[in-house]
């Protein structure tokens, strides 16, 4: 793995909510998240809605303050920074949002949208001539025409709008871009264009991506490593191919299995269909969080929360899974399908 740029250790975030059915008011959105992101690397973050993906993204953007745990970015903890240091740190982590129709201000031109971050970070491009030149350059980088700078967002298609969103994120020359479902609102033919663009930009600029998506096919294509989240915890992480081909955590296996596959042979395959839904994060199950939907659950799963354990011995890459009874490679997956009926 490349040199870690961003290191997250034991990150916790609890929200206080109005009284729930069980009387619990503490919602643990993040419950001890540990992750690393290398320079120029793409980390895929997958999980169902409500698992904490977006809270994690917001915390990394410093839009939420964690209750516990540390974020280390090139040796410094951004939550300790103040004033100018904080400002210059904020420049380095940027975000691209899911909905290209909601995330661009309809009253601004595309050029003004891209240039807006420089209103805060004035030192970056001090003269208006530099700013204009840079806007043209950014538009070119994301595959739009320089003349598009004067158009307003509604004159663009969804894919073009997402390109503007990407140009805005690139305006501050960040080291990390958090992509929150960047292509899920786009049509398939346009989605491929944007994925290609993101890939080209990463090659060119060496920027790291945290790629949040529910589309496992897309994650498999873009991510170097993947982290699977369930109810505020990362239950499995490892090299993308390793996790996809040999999932160790039953939840990962079920998630892979539930995701529809484009198989041109038309052969119908067996699959794990999980019963039930995600438990409320207000009342997570005791012990292992997944045990209420897991077909391998035993008594110990209700009592002891599993620690992350290394499941790949031969390979140098780290493959961690939080499970008392991790699946064994491919054999485990077929066994799991048989067991779940």
């Amino acid at each position: 793995m490349s040199e870690p740029l961003l290191q997250i250790d034991g990150l916790c975030k609890t929200f206080h909510v109005a009284k729930s059915a069980s009387g619990n008011t503490r919602l643990k959105a993040l419950d001890g998240i540990s992750l690393t992101v290398g320079r120029g690397e793409t980390l895929g973050l997958v999980g169902e809605s409500g698992c904490g993906k977006s809270t994690l993204a917001r915390t990394l953007m410093m839009l939420e303050t964690p209750d516990a745990g540390t974020v280390t970015f090139e040796g410094t903890n951004p939550f300790r920074l103040r004033g100018k240091e904080l400002l210059s740190w904020r420049r380095r982590v940027q975000m691209v949002f899911q909905d290209p129709f909601a995330s661009l201000n309809a009253r601004m031109s595309a050029g003004d949208i891209i240039a807006e971050p420089w209103a805060t970070h004035r030192s970056l491009y001090p003269s208006s001539r530099e700013r204009e030149a840079r806007v043209r350059e950014l538009l070119h980088m994301v595959g739009l025409r320089p003349s598009d700078a004067r158009k307003s967002p509604q004159e663009f298609s969804g894919g073009q709008r997402q390109r503007i969103g990407i140009a805005r994120a690139l305006a501050l020359n960040p080291d990390v871009i958090i992509l929150d479902e960047p292509v899920s609102a786009l049509d398939l033919s346009v989605q491929a264009q944007v994925l290609n663009l993101l890939n080209d930009l990463q090659q060119e600029l060496g920027v790291s991506y945290i790629f949040i998506s529910h589309d496992l096919t897309v994650v498999r294509h873009v991510a170097d490593r993947v982290a699977v989240m369930y109810l505020g915890r990362i239950i499995e992480t490892g090299d993308t191919e390793d996790v996809f081909d040999h999932p160790r955590h039953p939840y990962t296996a079920a998630l892979m299995s539930a995701s529809p596959k484009l198989d041109v042979t038309g052969a119908k395959r067996d699959r794990i269909v999980l019963q039930g839904e995600l438990p409320s994060p207000l009342d997570p199950p005791s012990g292992c969080r997944f045990r209420t939907r897991c077909w391998k659950a035993q008594d110990i799963c209700a009592e002891v929360a599993p620690e992350p354990r290394v499941t790949t011995a031969a390979d140098a890459t780290l493959h961690l899974a939080e499970c008392h009874f991790p699946l064994e490679s491919v054999r485990g997956l077929t066994g799991a399908i048989a067991a779940s009926g």
């Binding site: 033919s189 491929a192 699959r271």
Partner: protein, 381 residues
């Protein structure tokens, strides 16, 4: 389940019966900038116990087609032309009042967004029982009992207590189940599912698709599945009609269309999905974007994005013509390796004698069609 069982006994449909036959369907939308044709001469057939997928990107007219079938188009839309024959009755020729009799007993529809499709101020029991009160004349009490049966049928836990809950008290997956329950309440012959799982997580999506399959088999319903997701089509549908800018550009059995696309748009879509591609490698994408409905070009609708475009494509709109999967063509496909296993076992589709293979076992059905001047040359792209 009493009523369900009764209906199933009386009108026992046979597999492969044509339940719905749509011909030359055309829908106009009146806009500020003039009338546009959103659906242009669309035709397809849906058969009992089978799923037909209408596949296309946003704006291609697939949802308007669904609404036209159900007779619930927006006021700015007009049915301009065509037949919608459901069990021998042409719905397009009926008055809106006459059509009401079909909504429920003959035809059910499931929408994408279950929260907006359900009425927030009525309990789900009231909404589920509505069909029984209106079409069967049951009392409120009897209708509630039927509603509980329905909730059991679609797998909602503790139906006796939850029947009095409001839509917002259910999760997204449960709401979708309620919507499906409403659609199948009177055991319709045709179920239209408009992006039924798009807003749901994959594990819940798998549950809902499993439920739809189960209901389809129980009632031998014909299902028209509207989706933009190629993988869902590959897994759930028997046949597919690919739509682009209001036109069907290709249709046929899913296994054939996906293993050997005969329209450049279908081929482009299939190649846009990142499967069988090395990680991070460049994806083939379709350049440009679909044409505005206000200026659909003369000639082929796909001409502005097509790698094969020639002068004839700009002058003359290709008609949907049969493409015979001659063995030579099938064998040279790029996906040949994947294509062999499933196809042969399915129906012997890889041979040239397509109609002949079907003759003995099933009633003859329209084979594959594609609207492209150069569908034969497609392999060379």
């Amino acid at each position: 389940m009493k009523t369900a069982a009764q209906t199933m006994l009386t009108g026992q449909p046979r597999a492969s019966d044509v339940v719905l036959s749509v011909r030359d369907l055309a829908v106009d939308i009146r806009t500020h900038r003039g009338t546009v044709r959103a659906v242009n001469g669309v035709g397809f057939e849906a058969r009992a116990g089978e799923t037909l997928a209408l596949l296309g990107e946003s704006g291609c007219g697939k949802s308007i087609t669904a609404k036209a079938l159900a007779g619930i188009m927006d006021p700015v839309c007009d049915l301009a032309d065509g037949e919608i024959v459901l069990n021998g009755t042409d719905l397009a020729a009926l008055t809106p009042k006459e059509r009401l009799k079909f909504a429920g007993p003959e035809l059910g529809i499931v929408f994408q967004d279950a929260l907006t499709a359900l009425n927030p101020v009525y309990t789900v029991g009231t909404q589920l029982g509505e069909a029984f009160r209106i079409h069967r004349g049951l009392s409120a009490k009897e209708a509630k009992a039927e509603a509980i049966e329905l909730m059991k049928r679609v797998g909602i836990p503790e139906p006796e207590s939850r029947v009095n809950s409001y839509p917002h008290q259910f999760s997204g997956g449960m709401r979708q189940r309620i919507l499906i329950a409403m659609a199948v309440a009177l055991n319709p012959r045709l179920l239209i599912a408009d992006e039924p799982t798009t807003a749901l997580d994959v594990t819940v999506q798998a549950q809902i698709m499993q439920l739809l399959r189960k209901l389809r088999e129980e009632g031998q319903m014909a299902v028209v599945l509207i989706t933009h997701d190629l993988a869902v089509v590959a897994e759930e549908a028997d046949s597919v009609s690919v739509m682009y800018a209001g036109n069907v550009v290709e249709s046929g059995p899913v296994s054939e269309v996906f293993s050997d696309p005969r329209h450049p748009y279908t081929k482009g879509l299939l190649e846009s999905v990142p499967v069988h591609v090395e990680r991070g490698a460049h994806l083939k994408s379709i350049a440009g974007s679909p044409p505005e409905l206000h200026d659909i070009p003369a000639g082929c609708v796909y001409q502005s994005r097509c790698p094969l475009v020639q002068d004839i494509c700009r002058a003359e709109r290709p008609r949907l013509l049969p493409v015979n999967g001659s063995s030579a063509v099938v064998q040279t496909g790029a996906e040949d390796d994947d294509g062999d296993n499933g196809l042969g076992a399915d129906a012997g589709l890889d041979g040239g004698n397509y109609a002949g293979n079907f003759a003995g076992t099933r009633p003859p059905r329209p084979g594959r069609v594609a609207a492209c001047h150069f569908s034969k040359e497609l392999n060379n792209v």
